[in-house]
Amino acid sequence: MSTPTATPSQRVDYLNASYGVKSWLLTTDHKRIAILYLIGITFFFAIGGLAAALIRLELLTPAGDVFQAEMYNRIFTTHGVMMVFFFMIPGIPGVLGNFLIPLMIGAKDVAFPRLNLLSWYLFAIGGLTALWAVVHGGVDTGWTFYTPYSTVYANGWVVVTAVGIFISGFSSILTGLNFLVTLHTMRAPGMTWMRLPLFCWGMYATGIIQILGTPVIAITLLLVAAERIFHLGVFDPAQGGDPVLFQHLFWFYSHPAVYIMILPAMAVISELVTAFSRKPIFGYKFIAASSVAIAVLSFLVWGHHMFVSGQSVYAGLVFSILSFMVAIPSAIKVFNWTATLYKGSVSYQTPLLYALGFIGLFTFGGLTGLMLATLGLDVHVHDTYFIVAHFHYIMVGGTIMAYLGGLHYWWPKISGKLYPEYWSRVSAWVIFIGFNLTFFPQFIVGYLGMPRRYHAYPEEFQVLNVMSTAGASILGIGYVIPLIYFVYSMRYGKDAADNPWGATGLEWQTPSPPPTENFPDTPVVTGRPYDYLTGREEEAVG
């Protein structure tokens, strides 16, 4: 970029444009809101992570000797609620989606900036409401709130937690709505759908799910709260209600929700793989189409959570075959990423380490998912640690790896500073090793039959659980290191150039960190996306 390169310290950018708490808490700049999300989800990740550490501590010994059963149930529920609703779902869309979508499509901001700030407040209020419930004794129903336990028998703060999740559900809806309208109406001239970066395709598909799925869990939690407050019997078998109907309504959202978690991760990986192979992505159309296909198919498969719960055999057959269909687009994506590396010019920086880790772990996690879609096998492994291992391979091995990869890749653009390459590679390896040591043994202990949510278990499972706890402590250390050096880099990091990786994409053609209005004047896009090979540096005509 040939603009006069004033040293970043004097240049006005979105970080030093204004100071003071009010300028942050009342900002409508998508980049600052992204930072607010970054702080928020790191906070809730810490709480969820602490709960995870306590769970692993308890499971060191077969006897339930660290916590009472009641306390243990509240801890694993806190782990589930905090991680799912306040870290995974708002995570990548809130931080990377908010920061990058306007930059990638050459817009000044998202379509509804004030709505974007409202989304953050709803997320924060929802999170703090749930946190209030946790601090005052929490809930012991599990993050799934199965009735009739959650409506009739549980004595925790079910209603307050449900209201917290309901509020943060609105944040997810409004974020999805914002992204969809932004991608439809605010693309720079020349930025056709086929020139859209794949990150935006992934966020588009995520937006579809957020809009079409979230309301259903909103009404489900509202009915659970109404049942507890007014003693209605919608899901209470004693008054004719059907608990399986709750499961239908709950999983109608909660399975697409796991695609809200993985699609943004896949979107990040598409960017990382092509940037660090310095090569156009292989199969652009197929990856973009796969994202949208996943978004649509994800709404038809929820019944595979209910194969043994009294759902009819024929419904089980239909859900099983559809669950296999939704796996195909994910397979296509993995093959296309691998093909992108072929004959590339691959450089081993940290974001690529996370991307390669993602591809490996997501492939393994995805294939174990196929095992769960297989009717015959799911009967045995349902509600055991096999399931816990599967979804942690996808969520931790997949989404968190991609989130960290994306955070490292765009950190120079977000903060204007470079992260320390040595320490980031060390933490990447520590996380990779810690992760596998934590969750691979859980596959084995799961197939051996150890049920989920047990705080005491038979002795023969102890060896595998000790390995898992050892892995968890390594993983915990692995996560703390990036927190330290990211904060360190904001102060002492070297200043980053506008395009430190030599990557294509409009976000790299504006200064790091970008000014508040992103581009001096709206860029016009001419070439095809990821055009590494023709012009050495695609000049965006100002």
Partner: protein, 329 residues
């Protein structure tokens, strides 16, 4: 080698393990394929100089089709194999030994038809298919025996039915697999699979209470069911003799099989399964009869299955329960 598989102790376990091994092979193959390709490409095409550029690789539609069709074929195989194994589990054979299970917050109560009652323990003969008819008195529980590769949620408000056939004598874990509250992890027990001789000894040893059907008969009188269902001619309710296992013509035109769920539905929500030709006057007993009571009534009505059909012999007294045929070795 540490134990990787739970003991294979049921007719079903072998099939599940074979399916599991096939899936492990597929998973291992593709994980290693992708893993090695990714590492090899990363090393082989390592960036030599800072501004080295990749070489152009044209996209190939054929390749995309290949790696769509092959996974598609593989998943169809997985689906078909899984479905066949699943079907085997969901169709209990006709001559199965009936066990009635009542799940209650944090214990399993098991009742044999001959009156034996057990808490968190189940003694079954080897080689005999056992059908479990399960009901929950409070929340959702899940009857899970890892050694049999068998699990079934017990949903309150209805009967859950499942079956297994133990093939290896021994003592196997019984777990509750669906989170059911504070002492969910203590709701565990043992399943003892015994050789026929030991099983007979065990049956003889224990002092059985009244048989399930007899308890059901008592409850049948207690709730004055016999005022309408006493099968005297012109009774207001349909006769229950010889009802179990037959097709029933309903008032709304459907014909259903009179199984446990039908009997439970007609006690709890009689209007929904009103028999053709009768007035909808039966009140619902929802909440008035405990789950155990419902199981006993079902056992009693099943024992009337072999009684002569209605009107043939007006016997007000409950028919004596026929002796179970001896268990084949």
């Amino acid at each position: 080698m540490p134990q990787l598989f739970p003991p294979e102790a049921s007719s079903f376990a072998g099939h599940v393990d074979a399916l599991y091994i096939f899936l492990i092979l597929v998973t291992a193959f593709f994980s290693l394929l992708i893993g090695t390709l990714v590492v090899v490409f990363a090393i082989k095409f390592h960036r030599k100089s800072p501004d080295e550029v990749a070489t152009e690789v044209h996209e190939s539609g054929l390749l995309e089709i290949v790696w769509t069709v092959i996974p598609f074929g593989l998943v169809l195989v997985m689906f078909a194999w899984g479905a066949s194994v699943y079907f085997r589990l969901s169709r209990p054979p006709a001559n199965a030994l009936d066990i009635y299970v009542t799940a209650k917050q944090w214990m399993w109560k098991l009742q044999h038809t001959d009156g034996h009652r057990e808490m968190n323990e189940l003694h079954v003969p080897v080689g005999v298919p056992v059908r479990l008819t399960m009901a929950s008195e409070d929340v959702i529980h899940s009857f899970y025996v890892p050694a049999f590769r068998f699990k079934r949620d017990v949903v309150p408000g209805r009967f859950s039915t499942a079956w297994f056939e133990a093939t290896k004598p021994g003592k196997y874990h019984l777990f509750c697999a669906e989170f059911c509250g504070t002492r969910h992890s203590n709701m565990i027990g043992w399943v003892y699979v015994m050789k026929p001789a030991d099983y007979q000894a065990w049956l003889a040893g224990g002092v059985p209470g009244e048989t399930l059907a007899a308890a059901g008969a008592k409850r049948f009188i207690e709730h004055q069911c016999n005022t309408c269902h006493g099968d005297q001619p012109g009774a207001r309710g349909p006769s229950l003799n010889g009802l179990f296992g037959k097709q029933v013509q309903l008032a709304n035109g459907r014909t259903v099989l009179a199984d446990e769920s039908y009997i439970r539905e007609s006690i709890v929500n009689p209007q929904a399964v009103l028999t053709a030709g009768y007035q909808p006057i039966m009140p619902t007993f929802q909440g008035l009869i405990s789950e155990e009571g419902l199981l006993q009534l079902v056992a009693y009505i099943k024992s009337l299955a072999s009684a002569p059909p209605a009107g043939a012999a007006a016997s007000a007294a409950p028919a004596p329960t026929p002796e179970r045929k001896t268990i084949r070795p």
